[in-house]
Amino acid sequence: MKIRDWRSVAFTGATGLATFCIVAMVVVILGNIVWDGAAQMSLRFIFGGTSEGMFDAQKAGVFPMIFGTVALVVLMTIGVVPVGVITAVYLTEYARHESLITRVIRGAINNLAGVPSIVFGLFGLGFFVQFVGGGIDKVFFGGQLHYAKPALIWAAATMAVLTLPVVIVATEEALRAVPHGFREGSLALGATKLETIWKVVLPQALPGILTGAILAVGRGAGEVAPIMFTGAAYYLAHLPKGPTDQFMHLGYHVFVLSTQSPDIERTKPILYGTVLVLLLLTFLLNLTAVLVRAGIRAKLRAANG
């Protein structure tokens, strides 16, 4: 064989091997979870509550955790997407590219992306729960305790801050991908910058923005550290009724089960079952978002001819 040939064969082999390793790891992890968790799957498990016994594999249910996780993710998304999109729009369309403010904002976003999750938890506690919550209580409720405690809304806010960089970056990429010609054409017709962004640019960028939202949802459903002090609860007798209530959470429940359980062997099935449910839920949330994005992409492709 000629020298050129064996080099490319070796390289192809190496990349194939790497791909195989990655796929193998995913298969092993998922396989392990499905293997040990599938036995726990039952309607009672998914829809039952924790009133019977949290650590009893025959009686435990995770519905409150499912409800809490979904509620958290929904509130988080409502918070992070508008803020992230507006920031990205400012940075791409309005800010002067070399100005100090732009560089400061970008630096802040990059740093935010590097902050460890547990730090977000402490931040959420100190800022949202105590400062903002305390402030609201003082101003609106004359000192009565309504907001200055761990709550769904503060956990969602904390998660929103955590996932903000992802949404901003994805939106910026999507905005930059919109051809400049569209903006010029709109402005030349006498449209304002805002009209141009709202009517031409954002609709084109929508799939990219949704990608950012999907990435945020993925993190939001799984992170545990930021919600530990800001709203997740070890045990609640009832589902959260409003944003000021605490909530139970699938990821947090795994943590609880593994650290608080009296008999780890008996709890293990519940653990695996919870993890499996978490994975399935994340998968479902992602799938929904991906389908919505695909629908929008199809419409855009028709319009883009």
């Binding site: 569209f182 017709l189 319009a303």
Partner: protein
Amino acid sequence: MDNPVFHIEKLNFWYGAKQALFDVDVTIRPNQSTAFIGPSGCGKTTLLRCLNRMNDLIERTRVEGKIALHGQGLYAPEVDVIELRKRVGMVFQKSNPFPKSIFDNIAYGLRIQGVNSKNDLADRIEASLRKAALWDEVKDRLNDSAMALSGGQQQRLCIARAIAVEPEVLLMDEPCSALDPVATAKIEELIQDLKKEFTIVIVTHNMQQAARVSDHTAFFYLGKLVEFDVTTKIFTNPANKQTEDYVTGRFG
């Protein structure tokens, strides 16, 4: 000459530190087409984009001197750029229809101006598509995507979109450079018709096109206006040797 549309006087223009236009004096006459010609980088497109202040979109540009539209300075502080762009429309080198239906493309400018009734929109859209010589080709598929049209049709759509808002002036930045000869010929014919209703300023690197389509021609070189005269004179007996060299292809 009575009532020039644009009167450009001692215009100087900078991109950052680089000067692109030097003391340019040009007059644009109503209901005629004026061509800007010259080699690449001579400033013709820069000057065109000053006329509807599209250069404002570029950071760190500076203008000195005067451009007056019917006597009113374009760069005066009280000028509303949005209103200006409704009076001075533009067609670009690479056609840029929006990723919407043909109908919505032309309706875009009208809706911005507040025209919302379905009948008004339909009438004005048909009128502008007729003027752009595109009506017969698209009248049965107004709801189809504009991006499904051919290159030449897309450019005529952009022309229809620009004239739908009834501007006074139509600026054209090398409108045919991306099109095949047949499409180009159609648009050149169109320009001759449009002159009756609009004042046209066209930038072209195709001298033959300038000769075919314009009444007056301005020749630019390295940011300076070298010669500005009736098109016939520029192409049969230019006064300036540089113009003669450019026009006979002996440049550089």
